[in-house]
Amino acid sequence: MSTDTINWTALIVFILFFLLVTVLGFVAARWRAGDMSQLHEWGLGGRRFGTIITWFLVGGDFYTAYTVIAVPALVYAVGAYGFFALPYTIVVYPLVFLVMPRLWAVCHRHQYVTGADFVHGRYGSAWLALAVALTGLLATMPYIALQLVGMQVVIGGLGIGGEGFRGDIPLIIAFVVLAVYTYSSGLRAPAMIAFVKDVMIYIVVIAAVAVIPMQLGGYGAVFDAADKAFQAKGGATGILLQPGQFVPFATLALGSAFAAFMYPHTMTGVLSSSSGDVVRKNAMLLPAYTILLGLIAMLGYMAIAAGISVKSNTAVVPALFLKIFPDWFVGFSFAAIAIGALVPAAIMSIGAANLFTRNIWRVFVNPNITPAAEAATAKLASLVVKFGALIFIVALPTQYAIDLQLLGGVWILQTFPAIVLGLYQTRLRPSALLFGWAVGMVAGTVMAYQMGLKPVYPLAFGGTVYPVYIGVLAGALNLVVSAVASPLFGMLGVGEGSDATQPGDFLLSQAK
């Protein structure tokens, strides 16, 4: 790396904002201070977050930095198909509104910290809980790694990235800082930083959608330019979908929506709220971020209209900002994206640490663990998870993380039947759910490999072939196997399990 490629103004603004959130991260430990030697204080912020903090926390956690990079990159490359992210992040909320308050209520009543804790209590099966916990860990690791990719891309845009180990040094510094304040402040750190990050992202996106089209001749001109570019490019691209893309578009949206709140990080966001009413209000208010996401997706078309040409599609957004914005605002917007990576990465590592501690360590290794040792184990686990992700990104090709994150979506969907059905009267046998989970995991992984790690699988139905999102196919298989196996296992008298919950535990009015 040579100093003349560095954008100094942007770099200085970037570093200033980064320092600001670092200070906030450490101050956060004292915010509404709790006893950090308790896991629910460190890992769920003491379950005290109200409507506004939860809105920022889940917003910063669900709409990640990688989204800001990847969604416009996909739209830039293929057009309308990339907009499946919009229906996805709309139809997710009726589901959140109906399902998550029930999960919150039962977890609050029984002091469950993770989704796997709930599964353990509801079914009395440590093995089913282990399956849910391992799936969560497996799905989260590549997701954390992708946040690093988001950070890497903007660091590269500042001119301080570059090849080899030296190019990774800024990324490593940023991540060590993140690891240290997550260790000391727990979930309070990302909650506090999320506020700053989201305000910054809103400013950047509003500036981008107001300023950029003016320079390019308005939205009509932006769409026309994209239309022409895709017609020249050909293939399955365009500013409208081709009929063959209807089924994959819809199933990707639906499957992703079902998967979204099964991830440990989104579930952690829900469980840290102070009441079920907070969860319900957030289902109403969080769609504001979906508008933001739609506008972010538009950046892909703006990049086409601005004549941006990049080696790797992930560089589209930084390249567009560098071309359009003044240097100081480039620094501001890159800082927004990099800080936007810290928030979800912190929450993901906390969610994963909670799973490891509660559902693996405490159950299978040290059942007599004290609450203080439990919190200490989780803190340590959060460090291991983060450094694992860092090594992954520094040592292996980025494509591995992208492929694994795709598989992660398919995998996490396989925990949906055990968790969501368990919130209602339908209590299937844990042995059957475990069997269904295993079938779904294997089938989903095999299908994805057969398709060369593409998300859709061609399903022949009535003489026509429909490409369907693999997560939906594997999930349906899982559900059918679980539902059929449950009465069969019942006849054989195996795997009844036990149930620590009462029907009333799921209702908000009784969770006081």
Binding site: L86, I90, G218, Y219, L240, M284, P287, A288
Partner: protein, 65 residues
Amino acid sequence: MEDNAPKRSTPWIWGLLLPYIALLWLPFYNAREPSLAGFPFFYWYQFAWVPLTSFLIYLVYRVTK
């Protein structure tokens, strides 16, 4: 539990299915016209469903509160 049951089973809940139908059936909106402020129908229709969905959730929230 019984006294909560009637509040839970409001018919308004079925309204929450509308976004799924409206957004997952692509022939409804995979079109360029009518466009709005330069946005083809495909795009502004999706954007419009964001506040609509929030509003539907708000209605159910009010009824079941």
